[in-house]
């Protein structure tokens, strides 16, 4: 090697260029993924699972604690809490998924286009989004849901989803900006690649890690928001169970039946914790530091 000094310089350059070893995801990451998967399966197949009907009222078992018959106990109307927790996940999951589909469906393409095209389109859109971001979204959500009656799952998803658009826009725009100015994009342009090719083949794969980790944290935020709305009685109407409205129903009988609060709370917190953890790990794994969420 010493005979070819320029060679060693080259090798050094390659060594520097080589990306650092990625941080491993760890066992906890996969446990969290498993838990989220389990929740999704439970929500999808709640009808075929060997659990009681969540609306069935058994008056001989009222406010009974956990037992072999009712693993999580029963509520003040004799309904099985385990069944209600499993069915309740449906509301949280659909709000989380639905709202983010709207938020990313509108916000992400707009953010990418604005950052890629720049110019007047970008200036106007970004200013509009910044004005919307300054609007207190939580208050607006409460306001719209209190007037737009009767409330339904669909309306809740639409309101929360639309409220999340400016936030998604900002994150995706910032992420795209950092990629769009890199050399390989310029190289692609010089080679005469079409805009469509650059957007789908060059930009999208590079933004995906940021988008995915933000998506997971976004889902967690949205689910927590729906929980708070349900707790205030502004989400789906009873008797449909949701984690938030179960906690709301439990608040008046805390003294009698603490289990009714503990199980849905634990289900919600565990779910959020797993989502946040996965999002956080992925961010470290892909070394996303430029974009502040």
């Amino acid at each position: 090697m010493s005979n070819f000094p320029q060679f060693s310089v080259l090798e050094e350059a390659i060594l520097v260029e080589k990306p650092e070893a990625k941080e491993p995801l760890g066992i906890l990451f996969w446990i969290c993924v498993g838990w989220i998967g389990l929740n999704i399966v439970g929500a999808l197949f709640a009808n075929v699972l060997p659990i009681e009907n969540p609306l069935f009222q058994n008056y001989s078992f009222i406010n009974s604690g956990p037992s072999l018959h009712h693993l999580f106990g029963t509520d003040d109307l004799g309904r099985d809490i385990l069944a209600r927790v499993i069915y309740g996940s449906r509301v949280s999951l659909s709000v989380g998924a639905g709202a983010m589909v709207i938020g990313f469906g509108v916000g992400a393409p707009l953010g990418m286009l604005a950052a890629y095209r720049r110019g007047r389109f970008d200036t106007i859109l970004t200013n509009v989004m910044y004005v919307l971001l300054a609007f207190p979204a939580i208050i607006a959500t409460i306001a719209i849901l209190s007037f737009w009656t009767p409330r339904s799952l669909f309306k809740i998803i639409v309101v929360i989803g639309v409220a999340s658009i400016p936030l998604v826009y900002r994150v995706i725009r910032t992420a795209t900006l950092s990629v769009a100015t890199k050399d390989f994009i310029i190289a692609a342009k010089v080679q005469g690649a079409t805009d469509r090719r650059i957007i789908f083949r060059e930009l999208t794969p590079n933004i995906a890690p940021i988008a995915i980790s933000f998506l997971l944290i976004g889902v967690a935020t949205v689910i927590a928001l729906e929980g708070a709305l349900a707790f205030l009685g502004l989400s789906v109407n009873p008797p449909t169970p949701s984690w938030g409205n179960m906690i709301n129903e439990a608040r008046t009988i805390l003294q009698v039946n603490p289990w009714l609060v503990i199980f849905p709370s634990a289900a919600l917190c565990l779910f959020l914790l797993c989502l946040n953890f996965i999002g956080d790990r992925l961010r470290h794994h892909f070394d996303v530091t430029e974009v502040k969420l």
Binding site: Y130, V131, L132, A134, F135, P136, A137, I138, I139, A140, I142, A143, I144, S146, F147, W148, T149, A220, A224, G227, A228, F231, L232, G233, L234, G244, I247, A250, R251, L254, Q255, P258, V261, S265, L268, C269, L272, L273, L275, N276, F277, D280
Partner: protein, 316 residues
């Protein structure tokens, strides 16, 4: 600086305009005839006329906005047709309670988050840092409404601590000590949520700041650890902390709503939810308008403070 402030003021006015249009339009989201929905089917013609005058209902919709906004700017948010009291006076009575809860919770959050974040940042990956980072990450996933329900369950009911349960609210003018007692639980619940955010933001920013050259310089001058932390590292890092606090305020108000709802504290949140339950739409509209404008104003003030702390921001 002046140009920056002017630009922010223009933006502030634009946002307030949008908020007012939004709050105005809320009434039109109601299904059916507006007077019937707001005042009930048995409303007297006199009351109906009053509502028509307030909202300008017989005019085209863009003129209705001007009728309504000119009333609002004169402080007339209408009269609730359920309690027969003016919306403005109801809000004036409830607002101080929200401010008190937020004020107390922020004091608690800052006096705990700042020293602990400094300790953590001094030895990143030490046992204290690990414990608090893991703990705060876990707490990040516990929404305030669950925190407060669990606190009521374990502190007021299981441990039986007096003056903390639902409906134990005492007003400040009646008995200030009792008031503080009844505010303890809500303030702590809100403080936990804020602590988690402030701790995480300040810790990571301090770790970055402590690696700067001017800190090495300060160390080599032989300054004490405490002096370096407070005088040299905290000031640049406090920008991030203030930014987080400004963004946090909207969420804080909403958390306050949840806490008031559970504990029957007659602040804006409790009033808002009861108004929604009784279909007192004018009151809901008034609270939404006041709270939204308040949040935007507070954000504006925080921006201004951040600029004083770090004047470089306005020059960018």
């Amino acid at each position: 600086m002046l140009r920056y402030v002017l630009r922010r003021v223009v933006m502030l006015i634009a946002i307030c305009f949008i908020i007012s249009v939004g709050s105005f339009y809320l009434i039109h989201l109601l299904p059916g005839n507006i007077t019937t929905v707001i005042e009930g089917p048995g409303a007297s013609p006199e009351n109906q006329a009053k509502l028509y005058k307030l909202l300008g209902l017989n005019k085209p919709i863009y003129q209705q906005y001007f009728v309504w906004i000119s009333n609002v700017l004169r402080g007339n948010l209408g009269t609730s047709f359920i309690s027969q009291t003016s919306v403005a006076s109801t809000i004036r009575a409830a607002l101080p309670i929200d401010l008190e809860i937020i004020f107390l919770s922020q004091i608690l959050a800052f006096i705990t988050a700042i020293p602990i974040a400094m300790r953590s940042a001094r030895k990143p990956d030490g046992w204290l840092d690990r414990a608090f980072s893991a703990g705060s990450f876990t707490l990040l996933s516990v929404p305030t409404f669950i925190v407060i329900v669990l606190m009521v369950l374990f502190i007021s009911i299981k441990a039986g601590v007096p003056h903390t349960g639902p409906s134990s609210y005492v007003s400040f003018s009646q008995d200030w000590l009792g008031n503080l007692e009844s505010m303890a639980l809500p303030a702590i619940a809100l403080a936990i949520g804020s602590f988690v955010v402030y701790y995480r933001v300040l810790r990571s920013d301090l770790i970055a700041t402590l690696q700067e050259e001017f800190i090495t310089m300060a160390r080599s001058k032989g300054l004490s650890q405490r002096r370096i932390m407070w005088r040299h590292a905290f000031r640049p890092s406090s920008v991030a902390l203030l930014g987080a606090a400004g963004v946090n305020i909207g969420g804080l108000l909403a958390s306050g709503f949840v806490v008031q709802y559970l504990l029957n504290i007659p602040g804006l949140g409790y009033t808002l939810i009861s108004a929604i339950d009784t279909s007192d739409y004018l009151l809901v509209q008034g609270i939404v308008l006041v709270v939204s404008v308040g949040v935007v104003l507070i954000n504006f003030i925080f921006d201004f403070i951040i600029n004083i702390v770090d004047p470089r921001i306005s020059r960018e």
